[in-house]
Point group: C2
Chain length 160, copies 2
DNA sequence: ATAGGTGCAAAGCATTTGCCGCGGT
DNA sequence: ACCGCGGCAAATGCTTTGCACCTAT
């Protein structure tokens, strides 16, 4: 069946190849923020004759067409999520690397005001919180690498 | 003369070599957010027998000692500024790449509250605004590269 | 038919690191 | 003297690209 993102591709006049269909499906099904490696892994299980270069090219095209948003949570690799996913920000759990999404209606308006006060029209903004889970019982204290690369975990959806 | 940052190095027990002294001086004198290339360029004018690998090693050490803060403004290269520079955020002019600093006292408290509501202790946060200069006269419309790499410009200090 | 997509391997960039001689303390 | 530091070049990790072939439209 045609995935949600495949539909968007067609709308925007992209040539639909087998590989793009697979990546579109993987993205449509994802509820997290996978990096290219991860997309490639998931795509390969659906169709093993896809190369990682194609995944790189595909996310770039999708991003240029406004279908995907690229995120940089620090850790050196870009991560992706579908654009039409509502306005939200991210909180990264520094312990586990999990990403929690949250919303804050007032925030963007506030930032727009600040930008204006500085003489700028707000084009976009980046807001990420890094937090440690408040121990409900007892947070396991784990050794920390010097430059932790947040891993890829399912994303929780939360209203703040 | 001993630069401000050199003093910090000594306080924190770093072995002071000629190269470190040079990097410390460059950083003490900087009022912007240079990347490693730029630090290297500036350092080389003071002492040409320094290698870029040393600059990389030095900023890493300084960062670990809490002397420097690393910033990622998007564009693939890390940029640095002295830590004891007061709490502030950054607005990047998407037209020119210039970085404007601003403060907002309430903001961090607000984010702390949000994190807590989600069950997290706020460890750090990243906030960057990207804006286009509001035309006082007429903003020059320039062609945009696909993945613009913000260049390195003197930083303006502003109160928002 | 043909513009554009794909695979593969090589190239690119920013950054790190192994090795080994050198220089602070 | 000793341990850490610096230079150089090679290695790394993510991402892009040249080239030759293939395929949606």
């Amino acid at each position: 069946m045609e995935s949600r993102i495949e539909r968007l591709c067609v709308e925007r006049g992209l040539k639909m190849t087998g590989q793009r269909r697979v990546v579109a499906r993987v993205l449509s099904d994802a509820s997290d923020h996978p990096d290219v490696e991860e997309l490639y892994r998931r795509a390969a299980t659906l169709d093993s004759r896809i190369s990682i270069a194609t995944v790189y090219r595909t996310v770039r095209v999708f991003e240029e067409k406004g279908i995907l948003d690229r995120r940089d949570f620090g850790g050196g690799r870009a991560r992706y999520e579908p654009s039409e996913h509502g306005h939200h920000y991210h909180l990264i759990d520094v312990g586990s690397g999990k990403v929690i999404e949250f919303q804050d209606a007032e925030h963007e308006a506030l930032m727009r005001t600040i930008a204006q006060r500085l003489g700028f029209e707000l084009v976009s903004l980046r807001l990420e919180l890094f937090g440690r889970k408040l121990d409900p019982v007892q947070a396991p204290k784990q050794a920390r690498a010097r430059r932790p690369k947040p891993s890829n975990h399912p994303t929780e959806q939360v209203q703040a």
